[in-house]
Symmetry: C2
Subunit: 406 residues, 2 copies
């Protein structure tokens, strides 16, 4: 009836190793001026099957902890994001998101066809290239203390829209793999549901949440207000998923809605230790999904490396150029383009779905993970280069950096 | 190769419901002057299979969260416990623990034999009666703001010893169920390992931990020191289990060792939000293990109710009288006896092991859970009656109560 219960003490040992490695490598990387998240990703690669084999990204409990981590991260990013500013950057974000889906998809499709691959493989590859890991970019911008800059707001907005578009593509391509017919009606309804949830939640939530928080926060128990915030984040994450949108979008919406309430500081302080615990697990698990063996320059890897290398080029160029889509924007478009590059866990989900559906063979799957890996690992240092960490001056201490830093 | 990954969004929904129910019922129960943990247990009963069926205590991920909760709880209790004071109460604790194992075991054995049950069933029942839930008692004492009183220290000490003795009994009785021979050597080695880990860890840790913390805490990253504390707790919990002791004993030892360091306040503050999150899940899962159907006054339940009723009587009397074992102690022995009554999750583990080993039939298993349930639920209000919540006067604000309260 039930699977055997997990061996919890062993998991505690693994968690201790994961947290120790993530924090120490994160601190070491931060010391040399790079975003701490890079250290956590490297910790994951070391703990994954490529090297020590301690972290299995397909373990159910670790997977759950990692997912909770990215939900809490997006909740924290939402708490730091001003809805008005996000909307003001709205048109720019939409332009970046759409260009960032169309360009990599088209380029990826043609590269695969050019390499002689089938139509289905080309569509799946193109779809995997459209992803943007909002988690990784947001963490990097936060590590750099730059989350509130206009460029960052455009990136976050575009990455969120991209995440929803990615879901739409995932649903349609996933259906295609199962042999479903693609009808215009299906595309429209999936898209409407995915975006409708976010818009509806923000419209209704703006009215209900402040009133609800006032009502329930009368219960004066220690830690009650942060728990309420977490409840809203988890509830909306669940609701977003149930409505056909993504869980992290719901958590982000919860943060946006709580931001204008008087409880935002109390919630941020109460959630931070949960973030310190769960968020590194997410990045370690993403890192642990990397299989370094595909890099080995052996003859059997050449096809993988050739396809992977081409995909890396179009993946980087496609998103980078998308940063220039809002041609009217006067800020630094290169930063936006670079911020959209990392595919992270979203790209891996596409790659794994393609493998599970027998669309990708082992070599094509490895080429995909190579593309995901490279885009994920080059984005943090590139972003750091274009967007140096903000100096904390005495007058306005950089609240973000110290509060969400992991 | 792998089980399918858990449905995380659905789990987020369940977690939201669990946290909401636990916090609201906890606050409501606290409002009428009872320990908040009682509200969380009731929330568990309501969410469990008896009523709403939302929480399945055998779900792997929820089980893991619950176990993490009790590990964090015991870590927090350790952080609040002064080793010197614990040792000063040592002889009293040992007397209470031994009497609290011998009396309920003997009484339970004879009740079962008197009811015509087999020798094996009687031994298992006696063993299940020896358990004490250190988690429930410690939470109640903490809810009442009484954790630092001498009586409380004796209870905590005795409950910790009891937990180790319980493990020894569990190992031996568990071996018996598998048909292993019980040799004196086996009993001695299991006992020595279980106690040796705690004593060895405290001896070595007292020398190593302050030095280690000083060394590593030079890394100034936000939230690093609490993470270090958590690492020690998880590491020792894993080590304790690997050495044949219990994970929660390792976590408790980690707290004891960190208590005299200058980082104790920072660690307590950083861990508290994790406790707010994980600890209620533990009590909800314990509550959800309760099957209210055995209470229904139907003919097929009469044998269960009769056996269960008798077991409740000897369970309560056995532990209550154990409180009087340190006859030289001048404090309130009744409080100690009542504090030892709740069997909680430890009793359930014995009962479930007996069922899994086909020692207990369904009726006997239900009688056991009845005993566990009643002792778990009567202890908090009884303790509250004998040990009224401490008034917080302005001079010494009750730090415990506000810091660990859930």
């Amino acid at each position: 009836m039930h699977d055997p219960l997990p061996n919890v003490p062993q998991l505690l040992g693994i968690l201790a190793v994961v947290l120790a490695a993530a924090r120490l490598l994160g601190a070491a990387i931060a010391k040399i001026g790079q975003p701490a998240v890079l250290g956590e990703l490297i910790a994951g690669v070391l703990l994954g099957s490529s090297v020590f084999g301690i972290v299995d990204p397909l373990d159910g409990v670790l997977h759950t902890f990692a997912e909770l981590g990215v939900v809490i991260l997006l909740f924290e990013i939402g708490l730091e994001t001003d809805l008005t500013q996000l909307l003001r950057a709205g048109i720019d974000s939409i332009a970046v998101a759409i260009a960032g889906v169309v360009l990599p998809f088209a380029a990826g499709y043609f590269v695969c066809r050019f390499m002689g691959l089938s139509n289905t493989v080309a569509i799946f590859s193109g779809a995997a290239l459209t992803a943007t890991s909002v988690g990784i970019t947001a963490r990097v911008l936060n590590d750099l203390g730059r989350l509130k800059e206009l460029e960052s707001q455009i990136i976050i907005g575009a990455a969120v829209i991209d995440d929803i578009l990615g879901l739409v593509i995932l649903t349609i391509v996933g259906g295609m793999a199962k042999g479903d017919a693609i009808t215009a009606w299906r595309v429209v309804s999936v898209t409407a549901l995915a975006f409708g949830f976010l818009i509806g939640t923000i419209l209704i939530g703006s009215l209900v949440v402040p009133w609800l928080m006032r009502l329930v926060s009368r219960v004066r128990v220690p830690g009650f207000v942060p728990t309420l915030g977490l409840l809203l984040a988890f509830g909306l994450a669940w609701g977003a998923d149930a409505a056909g949108s993504a869980a992290i979008i719901g958590a982000f919406a919860a943060g946006l809605l709580l931001r204008p309430t008087p409880y935002v500081d109390e919630i941020e302080k109460g959630i931070a230790p949960l973030g310190h615990f769960f968020i590194p697990i997410f990045f370690v698990v993403v890192g642990a999904s990397v299989d370094l063996h595909v890099f080995a320059p052996r003859p059997e890897n050449f096809a993988t490396l050739r396809l992977g290398g081409l995909l890396v080029v179009v993946a980087v160029l496609g998103k980078f150029l998308a940063g220039y889509a809002p041609f009217w924007f006067r800020g630094r478009k290169a930063i936006i383009g670079v911020g959209m590059i990392p595919r992270g866990e979203v790209g891996l989900i596409f790659a794994q779905m393609g493998l599970a559906a027998h669309v990708f063979d082992k070599a094509e799957f490895s080429a995909m993970t190579l593309m995901v890996m490279v885009t994920t690992f080059i984005a943090p240092p590139l972003l750091r280069l274009l967007f140096p960490p903000k100096e904390t001056d005495g007058e306005e201490p950089d609240r973000n950096q110290s509060e969400i830093e992991i």
